[in-house]
């Protein structure tokens, strides 16, 4: 007969160990104790009241993602030089300053982000301006999965299976005027939902809304992709829900997130990082191991793959992130050292 008996080492009652609220709240408690950094003492953001240290705060619910029916497009897989980055890392290591500047901030702060209803406007030099709602984004175009390299300007990289449709398909639907030279993109501006837009400290000093841009030829290239999902499901907010750009031959900051406006223009549009530090971030921002960031080398990158901390690999960075066959043509005659 089998009796359930507590093992001898299990001499603690549940109440003897750390109270659950304290455990769940450990990060903020630590911040209040002052170990984390000067800014943490000042950044009592949305979820950090000083006096509710032991308040009965529940773990915030996770953003709900749904399955996306899609086909597989493997035509760019030959560029891939490594295994997929696990989904758990793709959705917890993000640069999305609208939700905080630390890599783990967006996944912590964005779970309550509201994407329904959503409105994406396509206007400017187009035959018929479009306004798409959330359902349009998911249903207007046949969705396909493409696995791409993502190379961050900070010299780390991932391999991610995105779900979405080519940007060109959307632009063709709107009908691009032949006067068009560029396409401008804009992220949602809603400080109530995006704490980084509310506080300069949290948002890292970027002028919001975040804006990005491509030349019209870049935008019409088949590699330019609008993603509405990753790993077969809709995007989580920290990765740019409900719709974001993927331009895999450029540094990650070009792949603007949570887009509300796509404007076709006849001028080169301003872009956020370029506005902030034009000598460090150019308009093109093509991945290029020959052109260093002024403060660090771009010759190699740390590939974030499977496994623990020490299993990452440092690999050589490829010109155009390996997508030269598709895009090198676009920059013929352009001095990539000047137009970085």
């Amino acid at each position: 007969m089998h009796f359930h008996k507590r093992p001898t080492w299990d001499k603690f009652k549940d109440s003897d160990v750390t109270p659950e609220q304290v455990f769940n709240d450990r990060r903020r408690i630590l911040k209040q104790m002052g170990f984390v950094g000067a800014s943490a003492l000042l950044s009592s953001n949305a979820n950090a009241g000083i006096f509710d240290l032991f308040g009965d705060k529940k773990e915030k619910p996770q953003f709900l993602r749904s399955d996306l029916p899609h086909s597989k497009n493997t035509q760019y897989d030959s560029v891939l030089n490594g295994v997929l980055t696990p989904e758990s890392k793709v959705i917890t290591h993000n640069n999305f300053y609208e939700f905080g500047t630390a890599k783990s901030d967006p996944s912590e702060n964005a779970q309550g982000f509201n994407v329904e209803p959503w409105k994406l406007v396509i206007d400017g030099l187009v035959d018929k301006p479009l306004t798409l709602d959330y359902d349009d984004l998911m249903k207007l175009f046949a969705l396909e999965e493409r696995t791409h390299l993502l190379r961050c300007v900070e010299a780390w990289s991932m391999v991610i299976p995105w779900v979405g449709f080519p940007l060109a398909a959307l632009l063709k639907k709107a009908g691009v005027s032949n006067k068009a030279t560029h396409v401008a993109f804009e992220t949602l501006f809603e400080p109530e939902q995006m704490p980084g837009q509310k506080s300069r400290l949290m948002g890292g000093g970027i002028h919001y809304p975040y804006v990005e841009g491509l030349t019209i030829n870049e935008a019409m290239n088949d590699l330019s992709f609008l993603s509405v999902g990753l790993y077969g499901k809709t995007l989580p907010p920290q990765n740019g829900a409900p719709i974001r750009l993927i331009v895999p031959w450029k540094y990650g900051f070009k792949s603007i997130k949570s887009i509300v406006r796509i404007r076709v223009t006849d001028k080169q549009p301003p872009t956020s990082w370029n506005q902030l530090a034009s000598h460090e971030y150019g308009f093109y921002a093509n991945v290029n191991p020959e052109v260093d960031h002024p403060r660090w080398s771009q010759a190699t990158e740390r590939r974030i793959g499977e496994g623990g901390l020490f299993s990452a690999k440092r690999i050589n960075t490829q010109i155009f992130n390996g997508y030269g066959e598709q895009v090198a043509e676009l920059y013929k005659g352009l001095d990539l050292k000047t137009y970085f």
Partner: protein
């Protein structure tokens, strides 16, 4: 009340606890995925901030001891300084092992080429020198030169937050706060400095008389 050696023992014990606790906490965070899916940058930043925070506490010791006439507190500076060294060492080890993945040639290139890393390395060299000479026997041997060497802590205090300021992409507010704090703490010393007050009275004499 004047603090005694017995008090000092407990103060030191507290400092050890408070200084070591964040390291244990960081390990737990990383093991439980609390530091994000790829905690490399988190660890580098966390240990760097740890060094900086300890340095700020260290710089507060002398003004506090003077203000409250608790000279015995001065004896905590050595251990605090060594903890700055511990955190700075973890910071560099994390950079070399987790970010550069032991690509020493890249490390050497970066140290030479990147100004913010140059500044960081100067800080670390100062820390090594101060840590080694914190041995009591060496202190005795060095005589007056010991104090001259250890005045480098002021240079360290200025350079460390500049290294931080220079390393960030755009989040300059937090490093700016550290620069401000350090400047205030250094100014506080200037006010106490006898030389400075001499200089001020000399100025007065010159311009009033």
């Amino acid at each position: 009340m004047r603090l005694t050696t017995k008090h000092l023992f407990w103060i030191k014990a507290m400092i050890h606890l408070i200084a070591i606790f964040p390291i244990g906490y960081l390990i737990i965070l990383v093991l439980t995925n609390g530091a994000g899916g790829d905690p490399v940058q988190y660890i580098i930043h966390y240990t760097g901030i740890g060094a900086l925070n300890t340095l700020v506490v260290l710089l507060m010791v002398s003004p506090l001891a003077r203000k409250f006439k608790q000279g015995i507190l001065i004896q905590t500076r050595r251990m605090l300084g060594l903890y700055v060294f511990v955190y700075a060492s973890l910071h560099i080890m994390a950079f070399v092992s987790l970010d550069l993945l032991f690509e020493w040639s890249l490390f050497l290139q970066e140290v030479v080429k990147r100004p913010y890393i140059v500044v960081g390395m100067i800080c670390y060299v100062i820390l090594i020198a101060l840590s080694i000479t914190s041995l009591k026997s060496l202190k005795r041997k060095m005589g007056r030169r010991w104090q001259q060497l250890h005045n480098l802590v002021y240079l360290l205090a200025l350079l460390a937050p500049i290294h931080f300021y220079w390393s960030v992409k755009s989040e300059v507010i937090e490093p700016a706060i550290y620069i401000l704090i350090v400047c205030l703490l250094l100014l506080l010393r200037m006010r106490f400095s006898a030389k400075l007050s001499q200089y001020l009275s000399w100025l007065k004499l010159r311009f009033i008389a």
